[in-house]
Symmetry: C2
Subunit: 350 residues, 2 copies
C-alpha cells in the first residue's frame, strides 16, 4: 500500500508537509540538470522581466564598483521548497511519507489499528483519508515522525524517498524539481551566494535529500523542527530521540524567525510561492541595499498545475497564493515568476 500518488486535497500539516525532491544531483552530466551555457546561466528561462531581474541582481551585487555591491559574507539567498523548488500538488511528499509509514507504526503498536485516524488510513480509501481533519493529521505526524532515534529516522526517509513515486509523472518525487530553479541555485552559488532552503516542511525530512537533489548541505536547510532529547542506550551509547515538541513552526512569521535562528542574517534574495512565504519575502525586501524577492506563480495547468489568482482562484487548495499576495508583490517591487511564460522548460527530464 502506498500513498505516494494519493490524490488528497492537500493541506498543510502542522509539522510541515514537505515535498521530496528530484534525484537530480546524481544525474549531473547525465540526463539530469542541464549545464548552463557559458553565455546564459539560465537557459531554461525565457527572456522577460523575471529572468532579467535575476541577472541584474547578480550582476550588480557582485560588481565591486557597483553601489549595490554585497560583501561575500552577506550573500545569503533563501528558497522555499514546496511549490518553489519542486511540485507540491496534489500532495506534499512528507505527508505521503507519513501516510505510507502508518502500517509500520500499527505493526509496532497493533492496538492503533482500531483507533482513528489510523483505522481510516489503513483502509487505503483516498476519499475518506481526504476528509480527515487537521487534528487527525497532527496525530499521524506525531505517530510517524517522533519517538525514534534521529539516525533511524534518516535511514527510513532515505529508503522511502528512493522508492516513492508521484502519481502523475510516475517518477520519484526527487525528479520533480523545477529545472529553471535548479539553474537559479547554481547561478547564485557560482556567484558566491550561500543557498538555503527555508521550508514549512520538516527540516529533518528535507535534510535527508537536500544535498543530493539541490546541492544544498544539511546545515543549510531551515524548516519546521521538533525538539530532540539526548540520552544513552543500555550500553551507554549516546543518541538523540525525536520528541513530539514543536520547536520551530517555520511557516509565515516563523520563516524570518527561523532564518534568524539558524542563519542569523537577513537574506539578500528570497524565493517563495505562497502565503506562507509572505513574511520571508517582506523581511528580505525590507533590508538595506539591493534585495530581491520573487514569487513563483503556478499558472501552467498543462505542463504542471494552475492555481492562484492568475486563474481567478483567490485561494487555491494548495500553497495558498491569495490575490492580496499578488497585489503586495506588485506594490512592493517583488517579481512574479510566471511558470507559463517565464519557464521554457519545467523539468530536467522533459
Amino acid at each position: 500500500m502506498s500513498y505516494s500518488g494519493f490524490n488528497h486535497p492537500s493541506r498543510r500539516v502542522l509539522l510541515g508537509a514537505l515535498a521530496a525532491l528530484p534525484a537530480l544531483s546524481r544525474l549531473f552530466g547525465a540526463t539530469g540538470v542541464r549545464a548552463a551555457s557559458a553565455s546564459d546561466p539560465l537557459p531554461s528561462w525565457n527572456d522577460g522581466p523575471a529572468k532579467r531581474a535575476i541577472l541584474d541582481f547578480i550582476r550588480t551585487t557582485t560588481d565591486s564598483t557597483s553601489k549595490d555591491f554585497v560583501p561575500p559574507e552577506e550573500r545569503i539567498a533563501t528558497f522555499d521548497q514546496d511549490g518553489t523548488l519542486w511540485v507540491e500538488h496534489p500532495i506534499y511528499s512528507q505527508l505521503a511519507y507519513c501516510l505510507d509509514r502508518v502500517p509500520a507504526v500499527v505493526k509496532a503498536k497493533p492496538e492503533l489499528a482500531k483507533v482513528e485516524p489510523f483505522k481510516t488510513v489503513l483502509t487505503g480509501d483516498f476519499e475518506k483519508i481526504g476528509r480527515l481533519s487537521l487534528h487527525d493529521f497532527e496525530k499521524i505526524a506525531v505517530a510517524t515522525l517522533t519517538g525514534m532515534d534521529v539516525d533511524a529516522f534518516q535511514a527510513d526517509v532515505k529508503a522511502w524517498i528512493a522508492e516513492a513515486k508521484d502519481h502523475r509523472w510516475k517518477r520519484p518525487f526527487t525528479e520533480l524539481t523545477y529545472q529553471p530553479m535548479q539553474e537559479v541555485l547554481t547561478f547564485f552559488r557560482a556567484n558566491g551566494y550561500k543557498t538555503f532552503i527555508v521550508t514549512g516542511g520538516g527540516q529533518d525530512f528535507v535534510r535527508v535529500y537536500s544535498e543530493r537533489v539541490y546541492g544544498i548541505p544539511r546545515e543549510n536547510v531551515v524548516g519546521s523542527a521538533l525538539g530532540t532529547k539526548f540520552g544513552y542506550d543500555k550500553n551507554g551509547k549516546p543518541f538523540l530521540t525525536k520528541e513530539p515538541k514543536l520547536l520551530l513552526n517555520d511557516d509565515h512569521a516563523g520563516k524570518p524567525e527561523g532564518i534568524h535562528l539558524e542563519i542569523g542574517r537577513r537574506p539578500r534574495a528570497a524565493f517563495g510561492n505562497s502565503a506562507g512565504d509572505r513574511q520571508m519575502l517582506e523581511y528580505t525586501k525590507a533590508g538595506d541595499g539591493a534585495r530581491l524577492s520573487m514569487l513563483v506563480l503556478h499558472n501552467d495547468g498543462k505542463r504542471e498545475y494552475a492555481y492562484g489568482p492568475a486563474q481567478g482562484l483567490p485561494n487555491s487548495k494548495v500553497g495558498t497564493f491569495p490575490q492580496a499576495l499578488y497585489d503586495e508583490a506588485k506594490k512592493d517591487g517583488w517579481f512574479v515568476i510566471s511558470m507559463k511564460d517565464d519557464w521554457k522548460r519545467i523539468f530536467a527530464f522533459e
Copy 2:
C-alpha cells in the same frame, strides 16, 4: 563605568555567558594570526600526543585510500568557545556586556534604579555584584538581552566589543583567542572541514564577531538562543524583536541537541574544555568511523590560568572540569590538550 575587567567569581549565566573573541582576523598578515608554515600547519603546538592526534585525524580522514576517509559533506568540526577558543576566566565577556549595559537600561526605565539586582549593579561594587544570585543574573540577562530589534542588538554588541578590554592583559576580549586553536580552525578548514562554534553562550552575541575573529560565519554559530517575534513598525516595515523565551539552552545535553537542530549532522571532531561540553564530546566520539574528541586542560597558571583536576581542584569556579570528565576522556579515547605542555604559545600577541 565598565565591568569588562570585573573580577567576578564567574558563573554560567543561564542564557549563556559568552566570552567575546579576539579581533585576530583583522590582523591577518599583520600582528595577528601567524601564518602556518608549509611544513607545519600547527606551529604553535609542541610535539606530543595532542598535536599528533590532530595531524593523524586530518591525514587519515582526507586520504581517499584510507579506511577512515570522510566524504567532504560529512566534514563537520565543532568548537566550544569560552575556555576552548579564548579566555573565559575570570568572567565571560557576555556577562561583562550585560553588566555594562545596565546603566543604559536604567536610563530608559529609571524606576529600575531602585530595584534589585539593578541597584547593586549600579553601585559598581564588584564584591557585592559577585554575591548576586543566579536568579539575579537571569533578571539582568532578560533586561539587557531582550525587547530590542535584532539589528539594534547587533549594532550595540559590535560597538561594545570594539571598546571592552580584559582586566589582566588590557586588551580587547577579541585578542584573547588561543593562537594554537586558531591554527586548528585554519587547518581543519584547509582540509575541507566546516568549522562551527557550539557555545553555551548566546548565539546572537557570538555571531557579531565570529567571522572577524575566527573566520566562522554567523550561520556556523550554534549557541543558546532566545526566540524572536516578527512584527511591523508604524510604517509597515517588518522587524524581529528578541523575546525573553529560551528556545535552545545550548549547554550540556543541549549541545548535541543544538547541533542536530542547526547543523543536522553528527560532528567528526569536537573540542571543548568543561563539563558543559561532555555530551557533545560523547556524541561525537560515539559516531561510526574516525572521530576526534579533545579537551583543553587549563593547567598553565603562569601564561593563562590554572583550574581543574590537574591542579587538584575537582570543581573549578569557572568552566567546571571535574575529575570525572578527565577520567572519561582517558577511558573513551578523547585527547586532553595540556595548555602548559602542548602549547608553545598561547596568544598571537606574545
